[in-house]
Structure formats: structure tokens, C-alpha cells
């Protein structure tokens, strides 16, 4: 099966001059794992992941051990956001990324995701224009629904807050 058959086409996009606070709001929206930074023609310039957004507000000196001593973490984080608020998507995005073409096999996507340890891969056409993305979850869903044809049980989500 081709990547084009199971890729997602509803993505979160940003322009290179999108500021940090906008990126934060975009990444906080439901479902997106990464923001695609594109030019006017939707050509992919870079990717900003949730980790990249978090890294910007985390000072390089702050280890998890040292962070335990900060009693007012919210105040600390707000201050860090203020420090980086003028940073733009083009300052944060990674520009070296692996990608797939729509005609690539799903098996290739699976191999690439395992090999690179990434979660999501962009799908580009020959000109580098962004067409969609494919995630680990998409591949797993395809595996369960199409390839193996399992009769899976009804899966109930447990709300631990009510226990």
C-alpha cells in the first residue's frame, strides 16, 4: 500500500516569521505533534516539534534534579516564555528532516520511522511541496485494520481521575 492511502492531510502550518507564542498555541491545539513551517507555495522549509517548543523555554543549565528545587514552577516557566517570546519559527525549526513521497510503500515508512526513532514523517511531492504526514499511529491502525484483520475487543478508556 502507498503512503498516499493512509497519510493525514489536515496539518498545522506556520510561516517562517510566526512568533513563539503563536507556535505555542498551535502546538497546544488537539492532535498535532509537529508544526510544518512552509513558504507561500506550501514548500516545506522546516519542522517545529513539541519538543523543540519545550526546549526553547528550558534553560540549558536546568537539569531535572535542579528543577526539583524550584517551588514556583509556573512563575519560572512564564518568565522563560517571556524571554523567548520574540523568537520566530525560522529560529526554532529544524531544517534537516527525513520525508516520504506519496508513492512510497507503507513498509518503507514503517522502516524509516523505526530507523530514525521519529514519530511523524512529512510527505512531500517531487518539488518539496507538503502534501501530508504519516504517523506511527497511522501505520499501526493500517496494520490492525487492513493487514491482519483482527477482531479486536472494544477498548474502553479508563478515567483514572474518577477512581
Amino acid at each position: 500500500m502507498d503512503v498516499s492511502n493512509c497519510m493525514r492531510t489536515k496539518l498545522v502550518l506556520a510561516k517562517p516569521d510566526c512568533n513563539y507564542k503563536s507556535l505555542l498555541c498551535k502546538i497546544a491545539a488537539p492532535t498535532p505533534r509537529q508544526i510544518y513551517v512552509v513558504d507561500e507555495d506550501n514548500k516545506l522549509l522546516g519542522i517545529v516539534s513539541a519538543l523543540d517548543v519545550l526546549k526553547e523555554i528550558m534553560p540549558s543549565y536546568l537539569s531535572a534534579d535542579l528543577a526539583r528545587s524550584i517551588t514556583d514552577g509556573t512563575d519560572f516557566l512564564q518568565k522563560q516564555v517571556e524571554k523567548v517570546k520574540n523568537k520566530l519559527a525560522k529560529d526554532i525549526m529544524i531544517t534537516k528532516f527525513v520525508f516520504l513521497h506519496p508513492q512510497n510503500q507503507l513498509l518503507q515508512a514503517d522502516a524509516l520511522i523505526v530507523e530514525k526513532g521519529c514519530n511523524t514523517l512529512p510527505v512531500l511531492d517531487e518539488q518539496g511541496k507538503l502534501l501530508g504526514e504519516i504517523t506511527r499511529r497511522d501505520i499501526l491502525l493500517h496494520l490492525v485494520d487492513s493487514c491482519l484483520k483482527f477482531n479486536h475487543d472494544n477498548i474502553e478508556m479508563v478515567d483514572l481521575a474518577k477512581h
Partner: protein
Amino acid sequence: MFWTATTIFLVAYAVIISEKIHKTKVALFGAALTMICKVLLQHEAFHDIDLGVDWNVIFLLISMMIIINIMTKTGVFQYVAIKCAKIAKGEPFRIMTIFAVITAFGSAFLDNVTTVLLLAPVTLLIADQLEINPIPYLITEALASNIGGTATLIGDPPNIMIASKAGLDFMDFICHLTPAIIIIFIIWMFVWKMLFGKRLHVRDELKKKVMSLNENEQIKDPLLLKKSLFVLIATILGFMFHGFFHYEPATVALMGAATLLLISGEEPHAILADVEWPTIFFFIGLFIIIGGIVKVGLVADMSKAMIAITNPQPDNMTVLAMVMLWFSALCSAIVDNIPFVATMNPLLIDMIHKVYNVAPGAATAEHIQHMAMMPVWWALALGACLGGNGSPIGASANVIVVGLSEKAGHKITFMQFLKYGLPVMLMTVFLSMIYIYVRYYVLKW
């Protein structure tokens, strides 16, 4: 053979200074060449006390690294730093002073780089909380680590090398260098008070943020902390009495490291992997290269030149001590003080033979530790260690602080470091000169 050894030595040192190739690679390749060209035979390189690797230095370094690697896992340094910032009640200059004291004290017993590596993140956090520029604090800590490291035998590698070559013990350093460092440190802090005392002010609500930090969260493993402190104190006591019990410092350190490794429950693989092997092999390579130039007579020629310039007498070496102090300081500000001291040690030993007119290799402790010679050893130690403050590349602690600060978004330029470091270096070396002159030539203690 003379020109082979000399070429290996000069080329190796030139490449080390240029920093084009990692110094460990250069030293090891130079050592291998020294042995393959048969300048030094393998037996001499590995087993000869005068020409080969000084295993006392190597095992002392490895053992102290093991103890420190285990101790850093406890979080005690971060605990002390946060606790002290709270004791200073968030006052910026008080914090600067206390952190300088902690760094100097820590560096006197531990590795300088480890001390600044542990304290710099806490410093950056506190500067962040106080909304002040961390650069003066970080540079102060680098300078304090180099000054503090001068105070003891185990504080800085040049001291370890000098102690091993001159047969000096831990208490010799405590009696002769610690008082000098205490005086220098106090005067330096007074100068710092005049420079920064009135300039550093923060609002009360920011001080409260420092006071709200919870230092207790830093202690990760209280049991390991107790064991580590017990072993460290026992090891320091061992150092104090190693001369009395006729143990070499490396034996004491190895006992401490092995005991802590045994009782800590830590996996030896992880602890030993964290030993700074590149530094250890740098030392091994250097010892062999230097052994080569000692054997072929280059060091003897250098010592003749030194004698011609300073005219040392068996009972008076004042000029030599003063020249040694400033020459070491200036060289150490520009190049790594380890290869410098590695070269000066055999040079001084050779010079002792000539001045006291003893056959090669026949000098005893009576000559090496002669009353007239001791100020020269102390001048070498003070110059080599304090000289490191003269530039951002003068000492490893400086390089680490500059790197950490830049990573945290506070770039320290070469000139910016020089603005703090060079005057401190000149002042501390000048004070050392007065100390040496007054103590050994006026008061004759």
C-alpha cells in the same frame, strides 16, 4: 637521538598549543614515536622512576576522579550552593562571595573542573531568579577554582606532579601554600567588594524567589552521601598523615577510591567510564615525551641556560624563585600548565644536581628539599596554578565556564574574561611574590 627527541618534543608542544588536534592524541603519538625511535626503551618508559611514567600521579588522579564521580551523584554540591545562597538571604554580592569561597574550598580538595561544573548551573539558576547578569559570578567561580586549587597537593594537577617529583607531602602544601592562598583570597575578595559591592542590587521580591528554593530536594541519595563524606574525610586525613606513615599520596587515594567503590553499591563500569581517560592518557604521553628529552640531555641544556640566567647558589636561589614564579604564571596563562610543569620538574631536578654538585641521579631528598630550593618549588606551584587565571584558555575551569555560559545564552568574549582574569592573575602572582620573599627570604620560616 638528541635531535629526534627534541623534534618530537617541540612538534608535540607546538601542536598541543595550536589546539588543532586533541592534546591526548598528540601526547600519545609523541610518546609512541619516542619509544618506536628507541629514544626511550619500553622498560624505561613504563618502569624507570626518573624517565618514565609517574604512576604516583596517574593513580592519584584516577582515584580522586573515582571518589568525585561517586560524590557528584549525591547532589551535595548543589545542596550546599542553594543553602548558601539562602544563608546570604539572596543578597547578590554576598552570594558572589560565598560561591567564590565554596568553589575555592571545593577546588582545594576536588578537581577544579568538576567543582565549576557542579556550581555553574546553580549559579545560573540563582542569577535567573535574581534577574542579574550571571557572567561576573561565573568568571569569579572560575578564578576562585584556580586560586583554591593551588592551596593543596590534590587541588590541581601541577601540584600533584610537583609533590611527586620533589617528594613533598600533603602537609607541606598545607603549611606553605594554604596560608598564601588564604591571604591572596581575602585580598582578592576585598578588591571584588570595592568593584561589585555597590553595583549589585536586586529588588526584595526577587530575593524572596531565591529564599523559596528548596535545597533539600537536591540530596538524591542520603545514604550514599554519608558513605561518600566518610570516605572523603578519611582520605583527606590519610593525606594529612601519609608522610608520617610513609605512604605515597596515590596509595591513600586508591584506598579511598576502592573503599567507596566497594561500599557505595554503584556499578564499577559506570563509575570507571566517567573517569577522564583523555586527561590520564595525556599525562602518560607527556611523561614519556619528557622522559625522552631528559635522557638525550635537552633538559640538562635547558637547566644550564636557567642557571646562567638566574645564577642560583646552594644556599640562595632568590632570583630563580622570582623568575620561576613569573615565568610559570605567564606561560600558564597562554598554554596548559600541565605540559609546562611536566617540563620544569625534570629541569629543576637537573639543576639541583648541578648547583649541589652531585652525580646524575644521585640527588637525595636533602638536595631536592633543601631550604634554598623549597621556595623555588612553591614558586613553580603558585605561578603555574595562579597563571591559569590570565586568559580564558589558561585553565580547564575557564574553558568550561565560558562554554556553559555561552550555552545558557550569556556569551563571555575573550576580552571580557581577560578584563577580569588578567588583573586577578597579575595581582595574585604579585602577592605570591611578596609572600615568597617575606616568608622565605626576610622571615626565613
